[in-house]
Amino acid sequence: MQNLPKLTIGGVELESRLFIGTGKYGDDSLIPAVCEASASQVITVAMRRVDRGGTGVMGHIPSHMRLLPNTSGARNAEEAVRLARLARAAGCGNWIKIEVISDTRWLLPDGYETAKATEILAKEGFTVLPYINPDLYVARACADAGAAAVMPLGSPIGTNRGLRTKEMIGILIEDIDLPIVGDAGIGRPSQACEAMDMGADACLVNTGIASSSDPVAMARAFAQAVQAGRAAFTAGAGAVSAGNAIASSPLTGFLR
């Protein structure tokens, strides 16, 4: 493959443009194989209270992975900031995915609170990746607040419905001068490929891999799809003709 420019977030150069999650695996012991098959370098985790006897997920995450803790469970900026500081205290770096959600039915992020948390945490030296609705003004507010990337949703979390917000994500790709990481709802490799082919800089896939029948094989398929989509974007697709067919073969010299 040609030498494509690498993705850089928060000063870190990434070979892989596929980020993966650790939620919803029927068996967490699959995670190392999923990491390998996906060739991903960035992996999300959540932070929760320790249950007596409960085990965390860290034992399943290969040491080369860059941890992207999320602030899921936060209902406002204050709770997100609290979770982010706790996540950093765990000693696994300063990357944080801001997730501020108070609506439990749709799980859509609160843009205002997300931008507020982004501003506070960026000032504290975090590499902040806010999870947002693909809304131009929210994305601009997060960019102004010091976000290192923005993560617009394709469809509601965990739905595997794909890029229902394609037009809006396209506007962010066009307008926002930060890496755009397609997040949430990407259920199939073709959908990840579509996001990359339209110019997204990376995709985060959790449910699409974890809920598949064979997560390791699906992780590999997503990796290939993300690579193909990025390569297609870089190659530059041909013009779309709205009208008549345009022959690909010569229109002269026919056998008659």
């Binding site: 650790t22 919803k24 959540a46 929760r48 006897g53 999320n70 899921s72 609290r82």
Partner: protein
């Protein structure tokens, strides 16, 4: 002596350090982060911070998430 741990009331026989408490509960101190009365306790201080009557302790760890 009564303290609150992760939102639940707990009885302790006597004051102890955070590290002693975690060990008594079978929790690996290297696998968790702790917040005592809303102040984050750096892991290197687990052995010196004491749990006394009435404090509220949060113990968290990373779990699967997207």
């Amino acid at each position: 002596m009564n303290i609150t741990v992760n939102g639940e009331s707990r009885e302790l026989d006597s004051p102890c350090t955070l590290l002693e408490y975690l060990q008594s509960q079978g929790i690996d101190p290297d696998a968790v982060v702790a917040e005592l009365d809303l102040v984050i306790i750096p892991r290197e201080n687990f052995g010196s911070v004491r749990l006394v009557q009435g404090v509220s302790l949060e113990i968290l760890h990373f779990v699967g998430g997207g």
